[in-house]
């Protein structure tokens, strides 16, 4: 049997790894987008030690 022939198992693992990679990349992009959206909000201010609002 040829070593280069792909078992269905390999295809499943590849699809899972690729899918998870894309999901994680999307999550990173989403968190970045959320951060930009939140800090560019007019109400946003950096919290201070004496209890300032954010």
């Amino acid at each position: 049997m040829s070593l280069s022939k792909q078992h269905e198992l390999h295809k499943r693992r590849f699809s899972r790894n690729m899918g998870l990679g894309l999901v994680l990349a999307g999550f990173v992009a989403l968190v970045f987008g959320l951060t930009v959206a939140k800090v560019s909000n007019e109400d946003f201010s950096v919290p201070t030690e004496n209890g300032g609002q954010n």
């Binding site: 049997m1 070593l3 022939k5 078992h7 198992l9 390999h10 295809k11 499943r12 693992r13 699809s15 899972r16 690729m18 899918g19 998870l20 989403l30 987008g33 959320l34 930009v36 959206a37 939140k38 909000n41």
Partner: protein
């Protein structure tokens, strides 16, 4: 283990499921309804949200709904193996191990609630957490195998998404979001009982106390009619509240008239007639009920969009 031995001897083991198998655990078709109603709740709210925040909110609500689906499939894998409709789901089909589904569901549930909280507010996150709890513990683990009213009470779980969408935008629960919740809540029983009428052997064989099994099919037909009348009163009455307007009223009258006609036809039929034509009326009503919910929520969205321009209301 070499590739050669893999190619010749290895069968699928836990941990070898593909991406699509995990995605199927999220019940993507049910998720469509969750996403749509949550989106309407979010957009119909009088408070605008940043598009990225809105997108994130809908995504995390969908993930929370998907987590509920995965946990539901984990708990119900025993009856899913029996029912024809559910036999091809990832766990009974042998693609995913039960433990994997449990871990996946719990992880996604926690992730979705925390992320919704961070992206929007604690009210939306709390309702999402309660929805997951209600669907998995109250409905799946308790009500479904215990009472024929499982669908009536358990329907609340599917009714929360528009309320979560609204809360994500406003941070509150209000009469408008409760009205949207009520619409889905009242819609669920006739929708599922119509399905139960033409999926009769499935629930019976699995021992699920659906109304068709415990009270008989004639009683189920009567229940469908009664609940459709109540739904019509609520849906048309909502036209005269803050989420309604002339466009919503028109859509509500048309779609409720069709739904009522279908429910009346179901009530009039006997079992012999239904079996003879392979439950054509029941299937038609079930299909219409899907269009019904999409139409009414689209109308709510249209009314709220017009209202933001100062037109379209009473």
């Amino acid at each position: 283990m070499s590739d050669a031995s893999l190619n010749s001897t290895v069968s699928t083991q836990p941990g070898d499921a593909g991406f699509g198998d995990f995605f199927a655990l999220l019940k993507p078709r049910v998720m469509t309804l969750v996403v749509f109603t949550a989106l309407v709740g979010l957009l119909a709210a009088p408070v605008g949200v940043h598009p990225v925040v809105g997108f994130a909110a809908i995504l995390f609500i969908a993930v929370g709904g998907g987590a509920s689906g995965a946990l539901n499939m984990w708990w119900e894998s025993d009856i899913d193996r029996i029912m024809k409709r559910t036999r091809k789901r990832p766990i009974p089909a042998g693609k995913i191990a039960e433990g994997e589904a449990l871990g996946f569901g719990v992880a996604l549930a926690g992730f979705s609630v925390v992320m919704l909280w961070l992206a929007t507010n604690w009210v939306a996150a709390a309702i999402l957490a309660f929805t997951i709890f209600f669907y998995v513990v109250i409905y799946t683990m308790w009500l479904k195998r215990w009472t024929p009213q499982n669908i009536v009470i358990g329907g609340a779980a599917g009714a929360f998404p528009p309320m979560i969408g609204w809360a994500a935008a406003t941070g509150t629960v209000s009469i408008e979001s409760v009205l949207m919740f009520s619409l889905v809540f009242m819609w669920t029983p006739p929708h599922f009982w119509a399905l139960a009428l033409f999926m009769k052997s499935d629930y019976h064989e699995a021992g699920v106390p659906m109304l068709t099994v415990t009270h008989g099919r004639k009683s189920t037909r009567k229940h469908i009619l009664v609940y459709t009348v109540l739904l019509a009163v609520l849906a048309i009455g909502a036209a005269f509240t803050s989420i309604g307007g002339p466009i919503y009223l028109t859509v509500a009258v048309i779609y409720n008239a069709i739904f009522l006609k279908g429910a009346y036809d179901i009530w009039r039929r006997d079992e012999a007639t239904a079996e003879a034509d392979n439950y054509i009326v029941e299937k038609k009503v079930f299909k219409h009920s899907l269009y019904y919910l999409f139409a009414l929520f689209t109308a709510i969205l249209v009314q709220s969009t017009l209202a933001s321009f100062g037109i379209g209301g009473w």
